[in-house]
């Protein structure tokens, strides 16, 4: 029987890898995929809490987090496409729209 701590440790490792990816990558699409990875890590910990407490609410939360992730992916990719149209690049270090 694998305890909840192992699931949470896996979730923490995946979240950390995602956070490192957001910090070191410069391609906006890859940064987006790292955010998806972090969302998945949180989903994993929600489901393991739900399973070990015998409470279905955690899985409902994962359902909502999935739909928010879908909405975020749609809008984010549209933003990336419009940035690419203006800059001809998706390198986040070359985007200076909100920089002063």
């Amino acid at each position: 029987m694998v305890g909840i701590d192992w699931y949470l440790a896996l979730s923490a490792i995946l979240f950390t890898i995602g956070a490192i990816g957001v910090l070191i990558r410069r391609n906006a699409i890859v940064v987006f995929m790292c955010v998806e990875l972090m969302l998945n890590a949180v989903n994993l910990s929600l489901i393991s809490f739900s399973a070990f407490h015998g409470d279905v609410t955690g899985q409902i939360l994962v359902f909502f987090s999935l739909s928010v992730a879908a909405a975020e992916a749609v809008v984010g990719l549209a933003i990336i496409i419009s940035i690419f149209r203006n800059n001809l690049s998706v390198d986040i270090t070359k985007v200076n729209l909100l920089r002063w």
Binding site: M1, V2, G3, I4, D5, W6, Y7, L8, A9, A12, I13, L14, F15, T16, I17, G18, A19, I20, G21, L23, I24, R25, R26, I29, F32, M33, C34, E36, L37, N40, N43, L44, I47, S50, A51, F52, H53, G54, V56, T57, Q59, I60, V62, F63, F64, L66, S67, A69, A70, A71, E72, A73, V74, V75, L77, A78, I80, I81, S82, F84
Partner: protein
């Protein structure tokens, strides 16, 4: 058996996540993320969350990742220079920050691990579509409808963003 499967899935998940952030090619990163999502879905099955395991593959590995691959192919950006070509202070700070967050999370897990209860017997039924739908359409009905509005707003917003430039060009001509 469960331990064996968990270790197998965990190793594949961590390896593919590392492969995702360290890969130079964007397309390879996306494919690595697909592997990661599928193994996570297997872990959800280990946790008796059958419905979410299915949804994970359908929505994430199916819909969202296809969208990502489509955008990568459409923009044809595969030219990020080698990731660690020159050592930068920024990378060092990123690594340090990541390690600190990681250590913090592990510490808090270590503190909480002994206090958590064992899996309960009534959980075996809780991951099914019936059990989830029962709660989703009663207690969480309002939130569910808010989700519908959110997704509609996202679609409209994406259309606006994609159309904006074209409309402006037509006006100026």
């Amino acid at each position: 058996m469960e331990t064996y499967l968990f270790v197998l899935f965990a190793v594949i998940a961590i390896a593919s996540a590392l492969g995702m952030i360290l890969n130079k090619s964007t397309v390879n990163s996306a494919l690595m993320l697909v592997i990661n999502l599928v193994t996570l879905s297997g872990i959800y099955l280990l946790l008796n969350a059958q419905f979410l395991a299915l949804i994970q593959i359908l929505v994430y590995a199916g819909a969202i990742m296809v969208l990502f691959l489509f955008v990568i192919m459409l923009l044809n950006v595969d030219d990020e220079e080698s990731l660690f070509a020159k050592f930068r202070v920024k990378y060092f700070i990123a690594f340090l920050l990541g390690s600190v967050i990681f250590a913090q999370i592990l510490y808090s897990i270590g503190g909480a691990a002994e206090l958590l209860p064992e899996i309960s017997s009534d959980m075996l039924e809780a991951g099914t579509v019936e059990a989830l739908g029962d709660v989703l359409y009663t207690d969480f009905l309002f939130t569910f409808e808010m989700t519908a509005i959110l997704l509609t707003a996202a679609v409209v917003g994406a259309l606006m963003l994609a159309q904006f430039q074209v409309k402006k060009d037509e006006d100026s001509e």
